[in-house]
Symmetry: C2
Subunit: 343 residues, 2 copies
Amino acid sequence: MTTIQDIADKLGISKGTVSKALNNAPDISETLQKQVLETAVELGYTRLRRYKKPTRRLCVIVQKDNIEYLEPHHFAYDIIMGFRQMAEPAGYEVEIIPLDVKFQREITYDIFMLQNDFAGSFILGFSLGEPWMKEFSSSRTPAVLYDNHMIGNPNTAYVGIDNNEGMELAVGYLKKLGHQKIGYLSSALGSHIMQVRHRAFFQAMHSHGLKADSSYAGCSYYLSECMEKHLPRLLKEGMTAVICCQDTFASAAITQCQQMGYQVPRDISIVGFDDIPLAPYTSPPLTTVRQDRTELGKSGFYALSSLLNGVSIGTMLLHAELMARQSTAPVRSEEQDRRMAKE
Amino acid sequence: MTTIQDIADKLGISKGTVSKALNNAPDISETLQKQVLETAVELGYTRLRRYKKPTRRLCVIVQKDNIEYLEPHHFAYDIIMGFRQMAEPAGYEVEIIPLDVKFQREITYDIFMLQNDFAGSFILGFSLGEPWMKEFSSSRTPAVLYDNHMIGNPNTAYVGIDNNEGMELAVGYLKKLGHQKIGYLSSALGSHIMQVRHRAFFQAMHSHGLKADSSYAGCSYYLSECMEKHLPRLLKEGMTAVICCQDTFASAAITQCQQMGYQVPRDISIVGFDDIPLAPYTSPPLTTVRQDRTELGKSGFYALSSLLNGVSIGTMLLHAELMARQSTAPVRSEEQDRRMAKE
């Protein structure tokens, strides 16, 4: 168990100086304080030793550039609620910390956690390029990452839905409706989850014995490019159904199809991903793969409390569920096509 | 909430008859009892409603043809201990049920669970062909499957280690030691976990930029075929390291290499999987990917209690860990080869 004395010995300074640095005393240089904090993290010092009881403070860290979290109709809101619903009755205090890239550049994750007395964190909305993402490959303070997967660090866990299962359900459902030519529209593959879903699409098509080469998918950072370039191309190539990486894309795709003179679902079926609160209110209502946000939050707490209790969970995935609504329909038969051509 | 009355109504029989069937009364025909039990399962009836409090009985089901479980040096023993260590303090009774294929043919999983008043199960040692495996795709009583993954049934969860991570660690470690030509030895791909590890091997080789086509792997149902056919072939093709699907294979491979005149690890490095109690006692001691068996058991309980509490966990994977022992060494340099050739 690391003590203040250990830190002092390692740095060749007095216990008093270490204590000052740990407690943000004003009469200590920034450089020395940084050195003390880094050594404290390196040696595995935590404040819980000071109070002789484990710290019961957790935080939910939200990348506020990437994710909305304060309003009940936003995706992260229910996740945070689910987390609190489990953590608070278990005796933990939960603090919500919105931060951006700049903040991550100024302080390391471990030092931030140590200074604020947090025993562990639940991390929402981080894309692959964020500064702290590199740190999570070797960080020491338990962190549960929503929709991000770190290999090889026993102090982190990945929580999300089973996207392979979700894609399997979506493709299987469309196949049952008679669809054979199914396309995929995705935003850029700059986040873990977009990469996973992209791979899952091809895997699910393959496992259902349906053809899908790279031309069956259209990916772009810009929604407009997806809608104006890739979607028309997929329609031209004879796709009768399109799965979208997330509901916002699916909602835009419905509108775009309609503007191009296609009826949804008569001419083309559209499937989304996530079941955001908006999904039942698109026109027609969107068939989508549901992520249960409250359960995701609860699982985040389950995983974090496991890490805190020394059960080194790496991955925890919730079952996906298909919400069949009206944006999908049986594929049009050739006879129907002929009849329509006559009219 | 389903009552005895509901079952009676559905079948057009009296409540008394239903009750008799549920309680194994002797004066009721086998056919009728079967019908009552199947209807009870179909309608979601559980005894917990009868007592007006949830049943607190769980079982660990062990496929005794495939897995040893009673002796402390066997793999399943620690898993069961870990499960009990969590379940019993949480107020659950845990019963261990050893069974075989014949037993599964005689009674369905759901009826077995209902008749014995078990709220949920932890399933060990099932291969893909077992009769109950089909049932788990739509069973209604919570089941946590160790090393088996059911897609699409919210009442089952999959618990194991992250085999992708484990293979990533094994290949990464060998690459650091200078190995480029790495082979893989596996038993037949008739179990979920053997399929997962086989895929993970190629994925890890690929992600480390190493070549690996299908000739780099040797798979056989018979250990002897692996040792006498595939292992010599891999050695002949110039592999400097071989990863084995499990420790028993790795242990046999060490012996076989030695009998063929190869020194382990000087001429060939061998890596196992699982870290069974035997692993530190092979000669040389085996480098292997560790599954923490006690933690696996604990995770089994975590997942099961989540299912029982309505958090629909699908997958829960523990971090893998590489145990570097003496069956691996840096690859021999060309200079060393030349020097040895001169001697």
